[in-house]
Point group: C2
Chain length 205, copies 2
Amino acid sequence: MSTHKPAKPARPSGRRPGPSGTRDAILSAARRRFAEAGYRRTALRAIAADAGVDQKLIAHYFGTKQQLFVTAIGLPIDPTAVLPAVLRDATEAQVAERLAWGVAQLLGDPQLHERLVAALRATASEPEIARAMREFFPGEVLAAVQDQLGPGDGALRLNLFGSQLVGILMGRDVIGVEPLASLPPDQVARAIAPTLARYLVGDLN
Amino acid sequence: MSTHKPAKPARPSGRRPGPSGTRDAILSAARRRFAEAGYRRTALRAIAADAGVDQKLIAHYFGTKQQLFVTAIGLPIDPTAVLPAVLRDATEAQVAERLAWGVAQLLGDPQLHERLVAALRATASEPEIARAMREFFPGEVLAAVQDQLGPGDGALRLNLFGSQLVGILMGRDVIGVEPLASLPPDQVARAIAPTLARYLVGDLN
């Protein structure tokens, strides 16, 4: 499963990163702008101005606007990279198998886990973060996987998929309900994988 | 679907309620005590003392400790009353049918909806509320339906069931992601009912 860790952002150019202060300034400005204006209405130009850097440095450190958002908002994985690979040339059962593996990796990584919970708490308590999240997901993620989803409304399929993942993280990590919270990641992943696969490519009715 | 609205609590005796000030004082004391000490360690005696009322009044207005908790915490339905009826003498497909109906009622009621969202926000942001929720659900709800659940760990089945419901409410009402947030309740309910039924009585692996 491809990940975007904030400590090692995508650097298409392969050059060494500049001082970490510059990177942190961009992230701070991005979090503030995304929180204030949401994903869609935030311009990289404005983030660059707030951070006092050339806009090219944003691409250098973070890649695209969506990659910057994923890093700034605290999402540990980039669903636009992971989901197409999960769905490629696969039956519903195969999608479930791949998801059982991928979700187990996700739930088993303590660092990813922490960042997901932080993102969830922010989403639940900050309406502006919730707005940024709801603008990001239908658009960017859907564009990446639209042709690989099952029939009907692809955005709804992604919503349902996200709802089960969010619910598991709420139960395990925010509420901490037992036995779910202590269940080994692979067992949680196996239990929810058929649901996730159905939402993406199966029968919704 | 049986409901517990805060404005009309269960009154086993059928007598008229006393002044609403008394009822509100009990609810305030209960919310504070449950938040401070969690569900298990909160005594009705202490709530009565905080509210300055006789403990018998709590039973009069709210019924049992768990009914008081359900009302105080903002849960609009009592799962210990609803779930046994959903599961009674039913196949997995029948459970799914009943859940599709019941969840549609739940999602379609604007008052229930508001209270669920408030409970969710509180759970996400208040660790003490999260603790009360996680103590309440495994115990009281499991005791009510244990014999009707599928094989294996019944508490885990309820956790998974709750995770999908919580995720849907997060997506629809807290995050507000489209098209999920605007989808008619019966369509949402039909999409998730097979998942909910599987978690309660079906195959988890």
